[in-house]
Symmetry: C2
Subunit: 312 residues, 2 copies
């Protein structure tokens, strides 16, 4: 593994891919790898891209990444979105075009699964970001679909959040999404050649103007990824936001907050396993649940019993 | 408190209200109350009502409850939906009409807040259900808005889930909601006098036919709550589902599963507090996070340190 890491640090793509596979599949190896690469992390800028299915997030990512490649940057893409062509979803044409990008020397693409019901980011996502960071990626794009938990999780991982919208989302969606829109640092209305783009922009602008506690009012950009319109301007906004984070010390603030959450979540996960290890043994949980349903015990008695194991 | 509980058990509405307030506001009191009333619980049937904002969930609940009152039943309504007239939302006319219901001797209405970002049910919701159960409610309706976490949480609390839809929800919502539709035991398409009701019914029926692992194919009913059309039939479906749960032993199964989840969630909450209690002391967490960001330590070193203390 030492060797793999060494090779990865010199920019070897295949070693990077193999390390990511290890990080995904084996928690102990992940642990060892992260310990060893930690001092090489912190340099990549992590951009979360989210929005409804069909908003064209992958096409937009594709265009942004190509511009960065022209600047000589090294870029990684993590697709958590199951409808993304990078993940094998979407129509064939898209998929072939996207896979093209994967052939570029300075691009690394990886598709990751989600976890559970509404699809939060998996535990390993943060570790994969760290490997790609140490690998030397200047920018890491994480594409998630804007439904459920992964959208909430992404703010714990990314430095900058780009929300991709499309014209003609009805009032229903807009009202449902009100809470979620608060996480966007930059808004792109893609497919701006479609009818209603200006109106969608106006609506989003109105919502953002109503937003409170926003230190920096997010810009709203009309783009058309397929026609490569507005991509340069959008990239400027992304860079502008990153620069703003750096200049104001907010980059450190965000990473501080994210690291804190990461620590607490990992500790909780560890304790959860201790408890589940105990409750699963000898069907203890099963027996206690039945005792509660039969009114032999109440739930607080049971909880006290289970917790006494950890506190020991 | 003993006295309050005694009075509540004899059916005193005011005592019930005061106990619920205690359960909501004070965890230690909640604990004591639940311990004491546990043996009187388990008799109420809990019906979760969910669906998009504006689907007319409250009006439908209102009509269903009035039918149950005519049968001499005791009913409780918990409104977690912020747009519900029971919670003070919605337009004035609705609100006045709903508050009417609260004056009925056999109806108890309570509005509860949600928790956090995407609005899961608050910790106390389950405890409030238990109080209302011991109070002697035959049916407890929980109204939540079909957005985010509360919809997922409701399956952990209710015996039967009624999904309320409306005609003309676009494909966008349908696709986003695919996962969430799986939780419905019964579907009502409200405002069935609106254009597109039949089509919406057909679409939902098609989705349900595609659904796998469904032991009992959920029925889809066209209703018009405001005109009192189809309400009797819908109530029959609700009762039919409850009877099905009882006859097949699935009521116990669901409650078993829900109690299990409740235990595990309460343990996790407790663990979270242990962790935060330790890490917050002497700014330990703050110092360690900065050490990680400065690359003096890696995250696993920090976690090992915290765990070693907690495990002691």
């Amino acid at each position: 593994m030492e060797k793999l890491i060494e090779k990865m640090l010199t920019g070897d793509k295949r070693s990077c891919a193999r390390l990511i596979t290890k990080v995904e599949n084996d928690e102990d190896e992940a642990r060892q790898i992260i310990k060893k690469i930690h001092k090489y992390t912190g340099n990549a800028r992590v951009i979360g891209i989210t929005g409804p299915p069909g908003a064209g997030k992958s096409t937009l990512t594709d265009k942004l990444v190509r511009l960065l490649l022209n600047e000589g940057k090294k870029v990684a893409i993590i697709a958590v979105d199951p409808t993304s062509p990078y993940s094998g979803g979407s129509i064939l044409g898209d998929r072939i075009r996207m896979q093209d990008l994967a052939l570029e020397a300075n691009v690394f693409i990886r598709s990751l699964g989600t976890r559970g019901y509404l699809g939060g980011l998996s535990r390993s996502t943060k570790d994969v970001v760290k490997v790609l960071d140490a690998y030397g990626a200047d920018y890491i794009f994480i594409e998630t679909v804007g439904v459920g938990q992964s959208e909430v999780d992404i703010i714990k991982t990314a430095d900058t959040i780009l929300m991709v919208m499309v014209p003609g989302l009805g009032d229903d969606i807009q009202s449902i999404k009100a809470g979620i829109m608060e996480i966007g640092d930059i808004f792109a209305i893609n497919k701006a050649d479609l009818f209603g783009a200006e109106r969608t922009a106006t609506e989003i602008n109105m919502m953002l103007d109503l937003g409170q506690n926003i230190e920096r009012r997010p810009p709203v950009k009309l783009v058309c990824a397929r026609e490569k319109q507005g991509i340069n301007e959008l990239l400027d906004e992304l860079k502008g936001h990153i620069k703003y984070l750096e200049d104001t010390g907010k980059l450190r603030e965000r990473r501080y907050r994210n690291t804190k959450v990461e620590i607490l979540e990992m500790i909780e996960e560890h304790l959860r396993r201790i408890v589940i290890g105990y409750t699963d043994k000898d069907d203890k949980l099963d027996i206690r649940v039945n005792e509660i349903l039969d009114k032999d015990k109440n739930i607080y008695q049971v909880i006290d019993e289970f917790l006494s194991v950890i506190n020991k």
